[in-house]
């Protein structure tokens, strides 16, 4: 019986190893490739060249602020909206979810033009700079944002908490900030991570709009130099990893604050 159990316990490990290899092998191979030099030697030559290409820091900076702008605008728009749907128009949930899925089926070019048309009379600062991308990405990320927040709000007794807070004297903004937000923090964090990853890797929209973002720079640089192109994709992966890691550290610290004691028997 114990062998059987041991055999059963082996399966998760095997699955984990296979999945790990599936993700890690390409990365290791890429790393190896990016380190190749002439005559079967290895060196950091490609990585060195990468850093010497102009535009790395500029585009990275652009993408970062677009990413954080997208996260901020998304949360600002979507947390109150989804909360409102949950509280006041639960019957509209299906409908709103349907709408939030539209960006998945609408071709990017249509999306781009739609946003451009809406903002055509906006000042140059909006539609002439990467700021326009923030608006595009908020829409692009909508399906993920909506579903994540929806799941988070469904997991808490929202109506009761909100009414309790209202009764204790909380205005609507205070309810959102002090009651709703802290109790769906995991979902908010998830939505933020998805937005971030999306923006840091999105190429199509920004290239159509002729914006010099990090992914656009990556593609154009990679075209000229195979070694550099691989190094650059590893770099972008690394950057996203670091960002996600930083965000989860922030949330991890808060989570520990939240549950400092073990449940009691009483």
């Amino acid at each position: 019986m114990s062998t059987q159990r041991r055999r059963a316990a082996r399966w998760p490990v095997i699955v984990l190893v296979v999945a790990g290899l599936y993700f890690l092998l390409p990365m290791v191979a890429s790393l190896e490739f990016s380190l190749r030099d002439v005559h079967n030697t290895h060196s950091f030559a490609a990585w060195g060249r990468l850093l010497s290409y102009p535009g790395l820091l500029d585009t990275l900076f652009t993408s970062l602020w677009v990413a954080f702008g997208t996260v901020a605008l998304t949360l600002l728009l979507m947390v109150p909206t989804v909360s409102w749907v949950h509280l006041r128009r639960p019957k509209l949930k299906r409908f709103v979810e349907g709408i939030s899925l539209l960006p998945l089926v609408i071709p990017p070019i249509v999306l781009v033009n739609g946003v451009l048309v809406v903002f055509q009379d906006a000042p140059e600062i909006v539609n002439g700079t990467p700021l326009i991308l923030v608006f595009e990405y908020v829409i692009l990320a909508l399906p993920f944002t909506y579903r994540t927040l929806d799941a988070g709000l469904s997991a808490i007794p929202l109506a009761t908490l909100v009414e309790a807070a209202r009764g204790l004297g909380a205005s609507w903004p205070v309810v959102l900030l002090r009651v709703v937000l802290p109790n769906i923090r995991t979902a908010v964090l998830g939505a933020a991570l998805l937005n971030l990853a999306l923006v840091m890797g999105e190429y199509t929209l920004s290239s159509i709009l002729l914006m010099q973002t990090f992914p656009v720079w990556m593609v154009s640089t990679g075209r000229t130099d195979a070694g550099v192109s691989v190094a650059v994709s590893l770099l972008s992966l690394l950057i996203v990893f670091v960002l996600l890691f930083l965000l989860s550290i922030v949330s991890g610290r808060r989570t520990r604050e939240l549950r400092p004691f073990t449940p009691s028997a009483s």
């Binding site: 009764g167 204790l168 909380a170 923090r185």
Partner: protein, 360 residues
């Protein structure tokens, strides 16, 4: 520190009066409130009692400002608050379901309302501690809601509601999620606290025992209106309508025949409490409390004892009349000794005015 006797000054306050005038509220076809009138005196605890769906919760939520009315007004201390939003009403509310903020420790939950009012941190902490002592949980301030039992969570919710020194305390079936023992214990505790703090309280429940045992007055509701609002004793002994009579306590439905201002039941003439809406000779169902029915063992008695259950001082005897009617009688246990199942018994009724059941 002796907080057990007198309430701390922080939570003591003169009562506030409340008045509902002709409240109406419909949800689609359903009239949840259909002309509700109710006046609550300062410091009074009124329980709203009634069957499921009669509008108790709606009435309470209207007072809290969480629900709008279609017509009528809500007066608090004589002032019209009908249009005032919930966060400006200063009502302390305890909900049926657990409503503590999961992300805040118990003491921060209690201090939440004070924080919104800009009370200084030190004062806030002291007041939260006082209130937790008041509900007997002063050693649990650092815990989180998920680390408390259901009863403890409701105590904290009570402390949180009282912390803001509300004008009125609103309780919507706060005990219904708890098991029987905790329920009665917390019920009595709520009443003690309410008397100590002297706060006007509206307590909603569908449990008549709960309502009768803690309220100064009990308002019985029926389809969005108040049927009767009186002291528990008055309600039980002199119900104004058959609905109230049947809703509060246990009632026998005994067939009788109307004869003028009287009704004949099993050979006895009983006075009607209100003019009968029935013709002479009409067959009706008479409402009789088990304690106003007396059975005595007699070989030629018309009732047949079928069951008995000992309840301490009284014994509830179940008997059947010749026409098949089941009759419950609460008799002093000492006199019920010879009323064993199978025995014949004579039936008599207390000479009190009686009510007739509706629609029969």
């Amino acid at each position: 520190m002796t907080v057990t006797e007198a309430a701390p000054e922080a939570v003591k306050r003169a009562g506030t009066s409340v008045e509902f005038r002709g409240l109406r509220r419909s949800f689609g076809e359903v009239a949840a409130l259909d002309g509700l009138d109710l006046a609550i005196a300062p410091g009074e605890l009124v329980a709203l009692l009634g069957p499921s769906g009669c509008g108790k919760t709606t009435a309470l939520r209207v007072l809290a400002g969480l629900e709008q009315v279609d017509a009528g007004e809500v007066l608090v201390d004589g002032g019209d608050v009908t249009g005032v939003p919930a966060n400006k009403r200063d009502m302390g509310m305890v909900f049926q379901s657990y409503s503590l903020f999961p992300n805040l420790a118990v003491r921060d939950n209690v201090a939440f309302g004070l924080r919104l009012r800009g009370v200084a941190a030190a004062t806030r902490r002291r007041r939260a501690q006082e209130l937790l002592e008041l509900v007997g949980l002063d050693s649990h301030g650092h815990r989180y809601p998920h680390q408390l039992s259901g009863g403890q969570q409701q105590r904290v919710a009570l402390a949180r509601a009282l912390a803001i020194e509300p004008r009125v305390l609103l309780l919507d079936e706060p005990l219904s999620a708890l098991d029987a023992q905790v329920r009665t214990q917390l019920r009595d505790e709520i009443r003690r606290l309410q008397l100590r703090v002297g706060i006007t309280t509206l307590f909603v429940t569908h449990d008549q025992e709960e309502a009768l045992s803690i309220a100064d007055r009990v308002g019985v509701m029926r389809s969005g209106r108040l049927e009767q609002c009186d002291t528990p004793a008055e309600l039980y002994q002199r119900p104004a309508t058959a609905f109230v009579a049947e809703f509060v306590g246990t009632m026998n439905h005994v067939p009788g025949v109307v004869a003028g201002q009287e009704v004949v039941v099993a050979g006895h003439r009983l006075t009607l409490a209100e003019p009968a809406g029935a013709r002479d000779g009409q067959l009706v169902k008479v409402l009789l409390r088990p304690e106003s029915v007396t059975l005595t063992a007699e070989a030629d008695g018309q009732a047949l004892v079928s069951d008995r259950s000992f309840r301490g001082a009284v014994t509830r005897v179940t008997a059947t009349l010749p026409d098949g009617t089941t009759l419950l009688a609460d008799l002093p246990s000492v006199t019920a000794a010879d009323l064993q199942p199978g025995a014949q018994a004579a039936v008599r009724f207390a000479p009190q005015p009686v009510l007739l059941a509706e629609g029969e």
